[in-house]
Amino acid sequence: MILALEAVSKSFAGLQALAGVSFEMGPSEITAVIGPNGAGKTTLFNVVTGVFPPTGGAIRFLGKDIAGLPPERIVGLGVSRTFQHVRLFRTLTVLENVMLARHQHSRSETVACGLRLPRARREEADIRAAALEHLDLLGLSDQRDRIAPELPLGQQRYVELARALATEPRLILLDEPTAGLNEREADEFGEVLFRIRERGIALLLIEHHMRFVMKVSDRIVVLNFGRKIAEGIPAEIQTSPQVIEAYLGTDERD
């Protein structure tokens, strides 16, 4: 198992955002988390990546309990993510955004960087080469010197993906990667996800776009009001009465 959630709970001042959620993910698996708005999907991402600690339960990543670790530790272990509303650094260029993600793969400290010691320069060259490689992989090399807000949303989502890949993760969490993309762009994004999976990286995604979910996911976990109400392969989920009920009468648009 690459990721195993065991009865993970999170409450905010009396509001139970997650109530005993458990599921497992195998390596190189694409798992989708679906559910109506307010089901706790983004909260789930935030506790897994360390934005805040869960109130209860265990989160095992490659066998190690990471629940409550700070985000900089969790990314170092091999979990990265993207955001529902693109959160690229707006004052950094596209290349610098991806270079930043190499932070834990480099070590030069203040004095070495300030004096431009040979080892700091070598390391900077390595950071740049690795970042360019990831931009290249996603076809973004010619956008490297632009700042993120100048790019169309579709490209910004690829930059976020390149930044996540640059941390050399074993698992990437994608929060609504197709939001704002048209059908063709969503399909292209799906192809890229398959290519990433081929490199041995597992993907956990939150998605409202059902056609996309059914096409790319190996497994689907359905949340409603912080609880897991169903789990299975896409064909099972599509016909699950509980899932259909959860969605009926609820507004599933953003």
Partner: protein, 319 residues
């Protein structure tokens, strides 16, 4: 750092070092020396406030700590001036680290108020610890720095210490902001949580840059003490802290070159506004409000942006 910046740095360094040899002594050298001292503090503050986004109003305190540490070590402990400067730079980082670890848990306005309080405490301590600091009288007869048997006791001689030190610290800062650390600082400014999610230990880096920028201020303070041979509680005043923020407001918060230009502008203004005496502060205060209202990133970047916008608006100037 890009090529243009490197060439500009080399050009300014050579220019400022050749200038007194070509133009000879004069009062302008005194002004230039103060520009250098202001620049050091402003460059340090730019790293902390501009690049890392942590508004601190404690830089006059660290300037004063450097000045007083150097003054006390050389007049009371009998250390040679150069040694006093170096020992002082070992004291400041320890103090800055202790303060930084505590106050940098705060952000935004809270951090500004906490650092402001620290500045007030330092000022009071300097005024009250008379046996050590000379109280309101200050400390006088601070020996000049002596290098290779030459006492740096004139504007001309001091120039050849203060400017190389300033330009080296400036180069250090230019290198730093263009490294993995610089990217980390800029990422922290934009969003601490996202920076942490990509591996930046934000709390550690904030303390680091706080210590580093405090040392920049402290070096300036030490050099100042040996240059003017006299320190008084005025160096620890809140007004001086505001002056340094004014330097960044003029030159731009995230432009290291702006720190240099802002320091030059403010030092020259200080000279020309001397006849206005106490009203000078009121003028600065008003200017600061106006700049913050219209150019929150600083006057220089703001004007650059405004000129660019006007040029684009004029038909026919665009390709």
């Amino acid at each position: 750092m890009n090529h243009a910046s490197r060439v500009a740095w080399a050009g300014v360094t050579v220019g400022v070092l050749v200038l007194p040899l070509a133009a000879g002594s004069g009062f302008y050298l005194n002004v230039l020396n103060f520009i250098a001292l202001y620049s050091m503090v402003a460059i340090g503050l730019s790293l902390l406030v501009g690049y890392c986004g942590q508004l601190s109003i404690s830089h006059s305190a660290f300037f004063a700590i450097g000045a007083y540490a150097s003054a006390i070590l050389s007049t009371r402990a009998g250390l040679p001036a150069a040694a006093a400067v170096i020992v002082s730079q070992c004291i400041t980082p320890v103090l800055a680290w202790g303060i930084g670890v505590v106050v940098l848990r705060l952000g935004g306005h809270y951090l500004a108020i906490a650092t402001l309080s620290f500045t007030i405490i330092v000022e009071i301590l300097i005024k009250e610890m008379t046996p050590l600091t000379g109280g309101l009288q200050g400390l006088s007869s601070i020996p000049p720095i002596t290098l290779g048997g030459v006492a740096l006791d004139s504007d001309f001689r001091f120039h050849f210490l203060v400017w190389p030190v300033t330009m080296l610290l400036f180069l250090f800062a230019l290198n730093l902001v263009d490294s993995r650390l610089g990217r980390a600082l800029r990422a922290i400014r934009e969003g601490e949580v996202v920076a942490r999610l990509f591996g930046v230990d934000a709390r550690r880096y904030k303390v680091k840059v706080f210590v580093l920028s405090s040392v920049f201020a402290s070096i300036a303070g030490s050099l100042y003490a040996h240059f003017v041979s006299f320190v008084s509680p005025a160096v620890a005043s809140l007004m001086f802290a505001i002056d340094i923020i004014m330097v960044l407001a003029l030159g731009g918060f995230t432009l290291l070159w702006g720190a240099l230009l802002g320091a030059a502008a403010l030092t020259v203004l200080n000279e020309y506004l001397t006849p206005f005496a106490d009203y000078k502060r009121a003028i600065y205060g008003l200017a600061l409000i106006v700049i913050m209202l219209f150019f929150p990133n600083g006057l220089l970047p703001g004007l650059r942006g405004a000129v660019g916008a006007i040029l684009r608006a004029v038909p026919g100037t665009r390709r």
